[in-house]
Amino acid sequence: MYNLSFLSNLPSFIPGWAIVAIFLILGILFGIVLERSRFCFTTAFQETMEFRNPWILQGVFLFLGISAVLMSVLTQFGIVQPAIDHQGWFTVVGGFLFGVGIAMCGACASGQLFRSGSGYVANWMEFIGAGLGGIVFALFFYQQVEAPAVAATKAITIWGALGLPPLAWGIISGGLLILLAVYLRRFLPQKKAAQYKEKRFTFSLKQPWHPYAGAVALAVMTVVYVTLAEGVSMSVNTPNTLTIAWLVNFITQPFGLNLVSSPWFTQGVVHGQVLSRLTPLDLNQFSYPHYGHHLGYVALGLWLFIPITILGAFISSKIAGEFRLRVPGKPSKLLWYLVGGMIMGFGASVALGCNIAAWSDSFAVRLDMSGMLFSVGLFPGVWFGTRLDEWVAERIWGFGRPAPKVVKKAPAD
């Protein structure tokens, strides 16, 4: 069987680092695609809800649709078996918290990566915050609440519940999503202006891409990633948490708190040795045929895929000449992003995934229920978070008062 065996069972003369390199290259490409098409899910949701502008949302739906059709073909013929997550109340609650967090930061789990790479310092704080939120979850919520709640639920695919073959549901849902993406294009308010120039469908590194171009590239990347990752959906929040936890561990270890062996980070004990998510290469010791001796390198690759995305976005924004270090004018904003990031990271951990793992890949890869449940929490969360944004901007950051930024004459620079 191909599933759970291909990469991790490559012959031992192929160095495991080659597997890590594959994911690093994919991560850089992912960063480039996100940055060029400015594919931010928060922007998609917020702009549709606040300004009735589905500019990015049309791309999101096209990405979901194309990917759903392709993945259902692979699932149908047994080439890939997507790993289905459990879903329950925690998906809804986590989705709400996630929505509040991303609205506070104006960028989702994947959006923060390319923003960070293009120089937005506030999103660096979001990335750190998300990791801290994940750690708080791991230490205080996982064992106490999450694990029993997850154990009490089942993983449900929509096609399974409907008694359909995966391909049938993939074509129905994917087809509807593609139609919706095309239909949304009619509602772009900016098209009413005569001088508006719609972005071109291009993959040029020098120009911003049309969201449809980003959608096609992301769909292809998702299919490649999930196939190589042996059915695992693209995860942003877990690698984000691992990256920050790895750094935080240098501080907490001298004080007696070793995250490597704390709950959630540990995945089990094999031959008396604790296997931790923070030391993925230990997994290489699994040598029985089903898992393969390169399993640790696959796990490390899936982790590094996310931080390297920031580098991809940096490269791409540099090539396009759009990179600029952007520090928010008010230092309190950095704290706002840190807190927003923490709520986002905690929420994603509770929901078992972020906007990619719990939401988009649910429609695009697994064809399961989690995306719909996540939506029930997500959209009220985004709405509430945006109101918080407005409230704080009015009262603390001085919008509405004669702000010093409002000047009579344009500055010369």
């Binding site: 931010c40 009413k192 972005k199």
Partner: protein, 88 residues
């Protein structure tokens, strides 16, 4: 006709300049929308934005939705959007 009006707007001195540079989604668009709503009809506002999606898509979207003429110009690493609030 439309082109003439836009050319005229381009050369109009703005009544106010609103600087949202340094802000990221959703603030440039949210703030601009509020500012425009509170501004008296007939005024011209110049908005300075350095957040690409807000400058190229969202704020033009807000203007077009209300049928307010606008001019978008790229200046170095930021954009100037001049909007004339022609109606409520």
């Amino acid at each position: 006709m439309v082109a003439d009006a836009l050319e005229e707007l381009k050369n109009t001195e703005p009544d106010e300049v609103f600087d949202v540079r340094g802000e990221t989604c959703p603030f440039p668009a949210l703030h601009s929308q509020k500012k425009l709503k509170r501004m008296p009809v007939g005024h011209v506002l110049e908005i300075l934005i350095d957040h690409p999606p807000a400058a190229e898509e969202t704020v033009p979207g807000i203007c077009a939705e209300n049928n307010w003429p606008y001019v978008l110009e790229k200046e170095g690493d930021y954009w100037r959007i001049k909007v004339k609030k022609t109606s409520r």
